[in-house]
């Protein structure tokens, strides 16, 4: 059996691109996932969505993604209360004068692109969000359209819609190797030894991408890094924004369901290239650091009970941006991975553009700078507004 396109990886990146390709009638498409849809980082993330970035490139792209999230339930014909888009805003806190100056500078860029972020003094933060402790805060920025969505249902919704458009999805099917010859990509080999051929292959395997690309000798600079997160018991819905600090690394938000979800970057950063190294076990130290943060930032909620803690992998690249587009050395081979802690929110925005790229159409937004070749050329993409 020969396919036009094989997509490897059933996270937000793989399913959304599968859907967009099928919508464009790209032919016979097969998606292979070694576990189940959302088994990777997409299923362990905080699913925050924001347009409050620092570079024009990212603000513009995330504005597109936000607009897509706003129509996603309707477009994918999936219950809106399941996709659970919640636009309660991101409240970005500063903790020093220089950080405050740079947050304000970013707002000027955001306004230029019609992302109407508000600039709040500590007093205004106190007034608008009385639960937030503003001691040590020099000011905060707030964009009311930022928020979050349910990561599981968003992935499932794309998966179902892709299947309706004819995409074949095989779960519990692991690709062990890519297969190529002198001409380019030929297909993939599965754990059971079978080879499946395709004209194009898209690797959307998150933190596993380096490993899979290595099977044909490519050295993609993308590694996994453990990030921990926890969730509390559900309580009455009282708190609307995602409170976040780039310098201190924390993010805290209340889910529609009533639970508070929150995380902090790791104290020790590992660069795991080989899946055998991936360790997503939770630590006691994280509970201590997180509890301390809650007490400082949202003291009213420090009596809440923690129900669950877990960890997942950020799929990080040297400049914390995706590696997306064709791999020039191997015609027909494409990558879409490396969201570096913001891959969920970018997914729906990048997917239509990536579909255009794979089909040789002109790109509705120029994302070519995110191509793998940038590392060889030394053209890293710089973004000031990222966590940990």
């Amino acid at each position: 059996m020969t396919y036009d396109i094989i997509i490897i990886g059933g996270g937000i990146t793989g399913v959304s691109i599968a859907y967009e390709l099928a919508k464009k009638k790209a032919g016979k498409i097969l998606l292979l996932e070694k576990e189940f849809l959302s088994a990777g980082s997409s299923g362990s993330c905080a699913a925050g969505i924001r347009a409050q970035f620092g570079s024009e490139f990212n603000i513009g792209l995330m504005k597109l993604a936000l607009e897509k999230f706003e129509v996603l339930a309707e477009e994918l014909e999936y219950p809106a209360d399941r996709i659970g888009l919640w636009q309660g805003g991101y409240l970005v806190m500063s903790s020093s004068q220089p950080e405050w100056e740079s947050l304000k500078a970013r707002v000027i860029v955001q306004h230029r692109l019609n992302v109407m972020t508000e600039v709040l003094t500590p007093g205004e933060v106190k007034y608008r969000f009385p639960d937030v402790n503003v001691d040590g805060c020099f000011g905060a920025t707030y964009h009311s359209k930022d928020g979050h969505a349910d990561p599981f249902y968003t992935v499932f919704a794309y998966g179902k819609a892709a299947e309706r458009f004819g995409v074949e999805i095989r779960k519990r099917t692991e690709v062990t190797e890519l297969v190529r010859d002198d001409q380019g990509i030929k297909g993939v080999r599965l754990a059971d030894g079978d080879t499946i051929e395709a004209k194009q292959v898209l690797v959307a395997t998150g933190a596993w991408t380096h490993h899979l690309m290595k099977t044909i000798g490519l050295d993609i600079p993308l590694w996994g890094e453990r990030h921990e997160i926890l969730i509390t018991e559900p309580v009455e819905r009282v708190f609307s924004p995602m409170v976040i600090s780039f310098s201190l690394g924390y993010y805290i938000q209340q889910r529609p369901h009533g639970s508070f979800i929150m995380g902090l970057p790791p104290e020790q950063k590992h660069r795991w290239f080989d899946p055998a190294q991936f360790d997503i076990s939770p630590t006691w130290g994280f509970l201590e650091r997180m509890s301390d943060t809650v007490q400082r930032i949202l003291p009213r909620f420090k009596g809440l009970n923690i129900v669950r803690q877990w960890a997942g992998l950020y799929e990080i690249t040297p400049d914390s941006h995706h590696i997306i587009g064709p791999i020039e050395e191997v015609p027909g081979l494409f990558s879409a991975a490396g969201g570096s802690g913001h891959g969920f929110m970018y997914g729906p925005g990048l997917a239509p553009i990536m579909a255009e790229w794979m089909l040789g159409q002109s790109l509705s937004y120029d994302i070519t700078r995110l191509n793998y070749q940038r590392f060889a050329k030394g053209e890293l993409v710089i973004e000031p507004a990222v966590v940990g």
């Binding site: 576990e35 299923g43 519990r172 301390d292 923690i306 669950r308």
Partner: protein, 93 residues
């Protein structure tokens, strides 16, 4: 037996009917059911429902309960819901 009346998960108020429907839709592992139903994600951490759900999966897949696909990382601490205050170093000296 009315499947709607059999409560499987008290935290999230899910019935046997909910579970069987999701299994029939193709969510055939504990991890997938957790994500699509929120089963096991409530305050009890799955202590009530997990075995019941695994039994349903086993029946559906015609396997024994210990053959049902189950990720080892899936049991998440803490064992019992625990307040942030318990972990505060300063307050506890």
């Amino acid at each position: 037996m009315n499947l709607k009346d059999v409560i499987v998960c008290r935290c999230e108020d899910l019935t046997l009917e909910d579970v069987r429907k999701a299994i029939a839709e193709g969510y055939i592992s504990w991890d997938e059911l957790k994500r699509v139903l929120r089963i096991g994600l409530g305050p009890c951490g799955g202590k009530t429902c997990r075995l019941l759900v695994l039994r349903e999966l086993a029946n559906h897949l015609m396997l024994s309960v210990d053959q049902v696909n189950y990720r080892p990382t899936v049991v998440r601490p803490p064992l019992r819901s625990t307040s942030f205050e318990v972990f505060l170093k300063e307050e506890n000296g």
